[in-house]
């Protein structure tokens, strides 16, 4: 295990220093992330910190720091809407930039379809598929279902009685159960799938016995499986995975395998040479001992794939997911669901919105005769500040943080001043605003490594 050897080496070198020196060295390296030089690389993780895409991006960042010392690699989190917000921004603002990469995966393929995103993975330049995580189907140790067949028997007899839990709607967990249902001859819409914010949240519900079965990546359940609190009924790999004592779906006679794969893509508009250079760079990462150590640590399966084979793979995944989602939405709207009493996604929101409108009208009626608790002496001042705030987003992006904040500060301060404004007071407001904005800017970008639009 070269990774272990490497970390031993770090440990022994560190032991040579006393704790204070060691502390200071690491602390300084934490505070000055901008001192490193070299060809910078920015990896977009289109999700919040902590999720799978973020972990993949940060693992790459770590490995790059080890195999290309001195190179600045930044991870940007752009969370939202199954990664489609990050995707849209990546395609728009990084076009033609050979120093930009984005982590993506299976969930983005379905996210693009479900959210009706105008851009898709086809608009990016695929570089490499890196890893995959297989899904497992688990039941609590006390469950009557001993095998996948037990579970599927009950499922076939009364689909609604088996509640499946996993991550968000349209995610890998959801897709696996829908594909599984279609494989055994049930419509995808017959699945009683309960979406949670993630496999971890579903874990509590399945341990507490509220769900019949839970579906998610193996890593999410590994602790409980090892402790004997959960039983694995099946794993979604094509072949058995060493170290995981679970039959594949194919062993149970179901021709289905699904991996929650993650890949790395570059923006559109790169030259062939730039694409090749990036592919070579990522290949160096993916074949390094450090990367293999990261895979082992996270329980990720190495699924490295580049070139034409990757393009083919992406097309195949796209059509398989599109198909099941299309059938799902078609049957969902056609058949009156057997959960007729259950609230639909829109029933509560519409009821609440109607109530809001009603109360709003009542309030307005009650205000008609009454005197308001304000005398609008300063409506012009309020208007000026509102105006400044409304143009702020545009100015913020085009002029950068420091200039736009200086303007906002000066407009607000000048407006709020009691005395009629003079050249001197406006100048003072501008100087104070600029100093304050610049200090904040340096603190956030240099001290904390948070990217802000800088200067035009």
């Amino acid at each position: 295990m070269p990774g272990v050897l490497a970390s031993r080496r770090v440990e022994t070198t560190c032991r040579a220093y006393n704790p204070l020196v060691r502390f200071l060295v690491v602390a300084i390296s934490l505070l000055l992330p901008t001192l490193v030089t070299g060809q910078p690389l920015a990896i977009t993780a289109p999700a919040a910190p902590g999720g799978g895409w973020d972990q993949t991006a940060r693992a790459m960042q770590r490995v790059l720091a080890q195999i290309e010392p001195g190179v600045s690699v930044q991870v940007d989190n752009v969370p939202g809407a199954a990664g489609t917000i990050g995707l849209a921004r990546f395609i728009q603002s990084e076009r033609g930039n050979p120093g930009a990469l984005m982590v993506t995966g299976l969930v983005m393929v379905s996210g693009v379809i479900m959210n009706g995103s105008p851009v898709s993975l086809a608009d990016t330049t695929p570089i490499a598929r890196l890893i995959g995580e297989y899904e497992v189907i688990v039941v609590p140790a006390s469950s009557p279902f001993r095998s996948l067949n037990d579970l599927l028997e009950a499922f076939k007899k009364n689909p609604g009685s088996v509640s499946w839990g996993g991550g968000s709607a349209g995610g890998t967990d959801d897709l696996l159960v829908r594909l599984l249902a279609e494989q055994i001859g049930l419509p995808a819409s017959s699945v009683n799938y309960i979406a949670f914010s993630g496999g971890g949240a579903a874990l509590a519900a399945v341990l507490g016995g509220q769900l019949s079965a839970a579906v998610s990546g193996y890593a999410e359940f590994a602790g409980q499986i090892a402790a004997g609190e959960l039983r694995v009924l099946a794993i979604s790999s094509a072949l058995r995975v060493s170290g995981i004592d679970a039959p594949t779906l194919r062993e149970s006679g179901i021709a289905l395998d699904l991996a929650n794969w993650r890949a790395i893509v570059a923006p559109p508009g790169l030259s062939a040479a730039e694409q090749e250079a990036l592919t070579a760079r990522i290949t160096r990462v993916a074949t390094s001992a450090e990367w293999r150590a990261a895979l082992a640590q996270n329980g990720w399966d190495d699924q490295f794939l580049t070139g034409p084979a990757l393009k083919q793979f992406l097309l195949a995944e796209q059509s398989r997911i599109e198909d099941v989602l299309r059938r799902l939405s078609a049957t969902n709207s056609a058949s009156p669901t057997r959960l007729a009493l259950t609230l639909t996604p829109s029933s509560l929101p519409n009821a609440i919105a109607i109530c809001f409108a009603g109360v709003w009208i009542l309030t307005m009626m009650s205000l008609a005769g009454a005197t308001l608790p304000v005398r609008f002496q300063g409506l012009r001042m309020t208007g000026a500040i509102i105006g400044a705030l409304l143009i702020l987003p545009v100015v913020f992006v085009s002029l950068g943080f420091v200039a736009s904040s200086t303007l906002l500060f000066a407009i607000a301060a000048t407006t709020l001043r009691a005395r009629p404004f003079s050249v001197r007071s406006v100048a003072a407001d501008l100087i104070v605003g600029a100093a304050f904005s610049l200090a904040l800017f340096l603190l956030f970008t240099r001290g904390l490594g948070v990217a802000l639009p800088g200067f035009p």
């Binding site: 970390s7 770090v10 704790p19 204070l20 060691r22 502390f23 690491v26 934490l30 910190p49 999720g51 940060r58 752009v78 809407a81 479900m114 959210n115 709607a169 009683n192 309960i194 971890g200 874990l203 509590a204 519900a205 341990l207 507490g208 602790g223 090892a226 959960l339 259950t342 509560l348 609440i352 109360v359 009542l362 309030t363 205000l367 608790p373 304000v374 609008f376 002496q377 300063g378 001042m381 309020t382 705030l389 987003p393 545009v394 992006v397 943080f401 500060f409 607000a412 301060a413 407006t415 709020l416 407001d429 104070v432 605003g433 304050f436 904040l440 956030f444 904390l448 948070v450 802000l452």
Partner: protein, 489 residues
């Protein structure tokens, strides 16, 4: 106990103390800075701590987490700009206290309350973790929904003087809460085809808009006679009366925050809201709430810190992250090849107890670190008011932008700010908007999830003993409220 003592032996080594100090200092700083939360900070630090000893790194991360809980109240109180959703409630009365000249007392009660709650909740964490897990797992969607109903019944006391306007605010918040992709079905709701709205409306942006922007616009509309400074009255720290009004809310906040934080669908919003509602019910002068009642700062701040400790229960014992920070902490554990879960306490006893012991130490450090800062922070208020409000606008927009690094959030912040101004203009309360926005979607999700599991059988809420009990308590509180209101007339 032996385990905990061994843990102290780990936490009190000079090197680990230094990492603890570094973490708590950094945590306080990121807590004070708007838009930068502990989750982002820990994520940024993950790659650079790779070569570090796992115990040292985790002690630092835990320090950042606790420190951010302390620092978060500062901008809420001084600038009316909550940086994280956990300190939204603190802004309600904390900023009013600052306007009344009691910013020092508000900051002090927040810091000391955080210390008391943090220490007691850590104690609870070391003693009751296995028990809490059993309780937490008994909570299914039906139980969560019943808990949300209880919360709703309790927080309707926060609707303000005019019931009609209170409902207006609450319904506005509820409606805003439904915007975005429905987590259960994947349907987009109230998004009008705008991709930006798919992810819903972030409560932090709404809070910044309603409080910081709305307040500034309101101040501007009152005319330009505002060159005077915000007053600082009386002693910088708390008076004897403020002490006696604070200690009970601290304890009650802890008692609410820890168990609710330990629930797998936890978070700091529900416990802080419930603490506020309970304090208002129990207060001798409930009419002071909303105008700067110290109980309304002491209780929620304690609940906030206690829930942070509670969050560690499912994280350490189940490997279950219930907040963004906990999710990053989980990634940190995994980075070092550790899998939080039922076997962690057995396999890595020294590490786990070392981290738990460091929380006690960190809490003491944070108190020592934060109390002297109170004087410094209060000086901020002596800035001339045109500059203070200019600064508030800049800090608010920086905070709103940093949450998702999206310029669209700035537009949303401005729009919500105008809404906040209009609500103030018609005399409607602000707090119910936040309540509806935070509690509404959670309650709806649990309601529908429970019904999906029961296949549309509504009796599930009455047949599950825990859920039935919670609903009975809610009904009792609601009817008691109606009866006592009649009696007063």
């Amino acid at each position: 106990m032996g385990d905990l003592l061994a843990g102290f032996a780990v936490a009190l080594t000079p090197e680990n103390l230094m990492w603890g100090l570094a973490g708590t200092t950094l945590g306080t700083a990121v807590g004070v800075l708007p838009g930068i939360g502990p989750a982002l900070t820990v994520a940024l630090l993950l790659p650079v701590t790779y070569g570090l000893d796992p115990t040292a790194a985790l002690i630092m991360f835990a320090g950042i987490y606790y420190g951010a809980m302390y620092g978060g109240s500062t901008t809420s109180i001084l600038l009316n700009t909550p940086g994280e959703s956990s300190t939204i409630v603190t802004a309600l009365d904390g900023h009013q206290m600052a306007r009344n000249g009691r910013a020092g007392a508000a900051l002090a009660t927040a810091a000391i309350g955080s210390f008391v709650a943090g220490t007691l909740a850590t104690l609870a964490l070391s003693v009751t973790a296995p028990l809490m897990v059993k309780l937490a797992l008994a909570f299914g969607s039906a139980e969560y929904f019943a808990l949300m109903v209880l919360a709703f019944v309790m927080v309707t006391t926060m609707l303000g003087d005019s019931r009609l306007k209170g409902w207006l605010s609450l319904l506005l918040g509820l409606t805003l809460g439904f915007v975005g992709i429905d987590g259960l079905s994947g349907h987009a709701r109230f998004t009008f085809g705008i991709p930006y709205l798919l992810d819903g409306i972030d409560p932090v942006i709404v809070a910044i808009g309603l409080f910081a922007i709305g307040e500034t616009l309101w101040v501007a509309s009152r005319g330009p006679a505002i060159d005077e400074l915000l007053p600082v009255r009386g002693s910088l720290l708390m008076t004897a009366d403020e002490w006696s009004r604070s200690w009970k809310p601290w304890l009650r906040g802890t008692a609410i925050g820890f168990p609710l934080g330990a629930l797998p669908a936890g978070g700091a919003e529900l416990p802080t809201l419930m603490s506020y509602a309970i304090e208002k019910r129990l207060a001798r002068r409930p009419e002071e709430f909303g105008r700067g009642a110290i109980e309304a700062v002491a209780g929620p701040e304690a609940a906030n810190n206690a829930s942070a400790a509670g969050t560690l229960v499912p994280l350490l014992t189940l490997g279950l992250p219930t907040s963004a920070t906990a999710a990053v902490l989980l990634a940190a554990f995994q980075q070092f090849g550790l899998q939080p879960g039922p076997l962690l306490f057995e396999h890595e006893s020294a590490l786990v107890w070392g981290v738990i012991a460091s929380l006690y130490v960190g809490n003491a450090m944070l108190l020592v670190l934060n109390l002297p800062l109170v004087g410094l922070w209060v000086k901020l208020l002596s800035i001339p008011r045109p500059w203070l409000y200019g600064g508030i606008l800049v800090v608010a927009s920086l905070g709103a932008y940093s949450v998702h690094r999206s310029a669209g959030d700035l537009l949303l912040m401005a729009a919500i700010g105008v809404v906040g101004f209009l609500l103030r203009a018609i005399g409607a309360p602000i707090a119910p908007v936040m309540i509806g926005l935070i509690l509404g979607p959670a309650a709806e999700q649990h309601l529908r999830r429970a019904l999906a599991i029961s296949q549309g059988d509504w009796t599930v809420f009455a047949t599950q003993p825990l859920s039935a009990a919670l609903l009975l308590v809610s009904a009792a509180i609601a009817s008691w409220g109606i009866v006592s209101a009649r009696m007063k007339k």
